[in-house]
């Protein structure tokens, strides 16, 4: 499935040939692919919001949006589409349309699900006044949401959506994803400072401190995966996780060693913190900072921040899937999917990646509506005293595992994408990789128990730290 790749190449040629290099290709990507991507991700973010409201309602035993139907938006669409007809004819046409058997049964369902809320929210957001406070730093204040969008959307350029469907193929795509998502930090800083408001500034500072700190465990997790796979190319990382045969999922990084399970957990929590989601939403703690860095934003500019947050959730889910869950590969029988015609194979791959993303999306929402938020010091302590050491130990463990089971061999060819220098440990090596760390960890815990009993410092700290529940 090189259609997308070819179109970019052709456009890059047209823009100035190979000497134009990466930048021309980047522009081409912008024109050919980012535009559709934006068109796809913007509604996704909007849908994410309504999805979240329904899930929050389900968790809190409420109904959520349940009375805005789709009649209004549909009527508007009808009026626009048949604007050449007189109004009475339009109404009669619409009434006829609503009586169609399928539509008649679906419209009440849409109303009960509150799908119309999406359109209402969108119109409300577009229609709000765009206010810039008098004390704000005008240019910085206005630019911040755009920078946030850049930071949220640019990483998608290197994400492999399906076999050979990736916008920019590069040897360093993982690094690129991490680098440009760092732009969000700048955006939050600009928003916090530019608002000319103490709460915004405090929220911005908290957000920046949090994001800068949590980038370190994320970087360590990525480093371990890069070490294991021997490539910084996301597409290569996916290819390394391919195994021929029925059980493709035996190749997933998550299952390679217990250290990867630890790394996956660290990555997910750090990613949650990068998205500023509960329990890490100290930066926009509404009960003390009004709304943090986006207090002063309204209308579309606020919408951009919200969009960036949801896009970042999708990004973290997609990176998690790519690094640990085999990317767009099916858990079983990937070899038959690759053997299919490119078009259905691509569709299947996109669907599989989408369902993996949806899984982490749901988990993030579940966490948000279940757990209270951490205090600032707890956020920092969790990062520096728990996640960073865990990631460091796991990184060391992955390196030692590689030394122990060794055996760098040529990997199985995955479609046209040959896996380079794949670790092929075999069943014995795999058992070894699991048994030694698990046994070691068990012995360590037993030794600690025997030495300290229940008075182990970590246990004491856990029981003495006040619960964060009071902050709501």
């Amino acid at each position: 499935m090189n259609g997308l790749g070819y179109s970019v190449d052709a456009l890059a040629q047209w823009l100035g040939g190979p000497e134009a290099g990466w930048l021309a290709i980047a522009i081409a990507v912008l024109l050919v692919q980012v535009a559709p991507l934006l068109l796809a991700v913007f509604p996704l973010a909007a849908v994410g919001q309504i999805f979240e409201r329904k899930i929050a309602a389900a968790i809190q035993r409420r109904h959520g949006p349940n009375s805005a139907g789709l009649e209004g938006p549909l009527l508007l669409t009808f009026r626009l589409a048949f604007c050449f007809l007189p109004r009475a004819r339009q109404d009669r046409l619409f009434a006829g349309f609503c009586r169609l058997p399928m539509i008649r049964s679906l419209l009440p369902l849409a109303r009960r699900l509150g799908l119309g809320q999406l359109a209402a929210d969108g119109v409300k957001m577009l229609g709000k006044q765009d206010i810039v406070p008098r004390s704000a730093d005008g240019v910085v204040f206005r630019l911040a949401p755009y920078v946030a969008l850049c930071g949220a959307f640019l990483p998608f350029c290197v994400l492999p959506f399906a076999h050979h469907v990736v916008m920019l193929e590069s040897d360093v795509s993982v690094l690129w994803a991490i680098a440009v998502s760092g732009l969000t930090v700048m955006a939050l800083k600009m928003a916090g400072w530019g608002s000319g408001n103490k709460w915004s500034l405090l929220g911005g500072m908290r957000a920046v401190a949090q994001m800068v700190s949590y980038e370190i465990p994320i970087g360590l997790c990525v480093a371990a995966v890069v070490l294991w796979c021997g490539t910084m190319d996301l597409h290569g990382i996916v290819a390394q996780q391919y195994r021929p045969g029925v059980l493709t999922l035996t190749g997933w990084n998550l299952l390679q060693s217990p250290f990867f399970a630890v790394l996956a957990g660290v990555f997910f929590f750090a990613g949650l913190a990068e998205c500023q989601r509960t329990p890490f939403d100290m930066a926009e703690a509404e009960s003390e900072l009004v709304s943090g860095f986006n207090t002063e934003y309204s209308g579309l500019r606020w919408g951009m921040f919200a969009m960036a947050e949801y896009a970042e959730m999708v990004l973290i889910g997609a990176l998690f899937a790519t690094l640990f869950l085999g990317g767009y590969q099916s858990p079983i029988g990937e070899q038959w999917i690759v053997g299919l015609h490119p078009l259905p194979a691509t569709l299947l791959h996109v669907l599989i990646l989408g369902s993996k993303v949806l899984l982490s999306y749901l988990t993030m929402m579940w966490i948000r509506w279940t757990l209270p938020r951490y205090r600032v010091d707890q956020v920092m302590r969790l990062c520096w005293l728990t996640l960073v050491p865990l990631a460091l130990v796991a990184l060391l463990g992955v390196a030692l595992t590689m030394l122990a089971i060794g055996g760098v061999a040529d990997g199985a060819a995955y479609g046209r994408l040959a896996a380079r220098a794949q670790l092929a440990p075999g069943l014995l090596g795999w058992l070894f990789a699991w048994a030694i760390p698990v046994a070691g960890g068990w012995l360590l815990i037993r030794a600690a128990r025997a030495r300290h009993g229940q008075r182990h410092p970590a246990l004491l700290q856990l029981t003495q730290t006040p619960r964060p529940g009071g902050h709501g």
């Binding site: 100035g16 990466w22 930048l23 040897d171 690094l175 440009v180």
Partner: protein
């Protein structure tokens, strides 16, 4: 054509950002303009097919050092630009110095460029596939400096954590 325009845009971004960072009175704006300049330089690296270097430039300078600078900026006495005005004589002296330095650099640069031999086929790897080569260099010829730098950074990291923890403990003791 478009490549040239993009190249010039990157140059302009780097130069304008740098000039702005030096000349703007608002410290916060100056730091942001410095970020613009750094991004422009990253774009120039892309033109040299040094993708890894471009990514590292963004990670380290924009994502790391610039954020640090911004934090430091906010702690400075007067961010919004009511700083002491530069004296006239210092401005004049600076202009003369810049002119001398610029002309010297121009002369030297043109002579060096003229004397430079034609570049042989330097690149062995195809463009955009230089990570392996960099890795070989770092873990081969330059292993010792690389490890030393890594060790230093680790010590600094652990030291920072330890320092903060000691402060916390004394504060807890002080507060009873």
């Amino acid at each position: 054509m478009i490549a040239a325009a993009l190249f010039l845009a990157c140059c302009g971004l780097a130069i304008a950002g740098a000039l702005g960072a030096a000349l703007v009175r608002n410290l916060f704006h100056a730091a942001l303009l410095l970020g613009l300049s750094l991004c422009g330089v990253a774009g120039l690296y892309l033109f040299l097919h040094a993708y890894y270097l471009a990514c590292v430039q963004i990670v380290v300078y924009v994502g790391g050092i610039l954020v640090l600078i911004l934090f430091a900026t906010l702690f400075s006495a007067d961010v919004m630009g009511r700083l002491q005005r530069t004296p006239r004589w210092l401005l004049a002296l600076g202009t003369v110095g810049a002119a001398v330095a610029g002309s010297t650099a121009w002369q030297l640069g043109s002579q060096v460029l003229a004397a430079r031999p034609a570049p042989a086929a330097v690149r062995e790897t195809p463009p955009g596939h230089d990570v392996g080569a960099i890795g070989d260099l770092l873990l081969g010829d330059w292993l010792l400096p690389f490890l030393a730098a890594g060790f230093l950074l680790t010590v600094a990291l652990v030291g920072a954590v330890a320092t903060v923890r000691r402060h916390q403990r004394t504060r807890e003791v002080a507060h009873g």
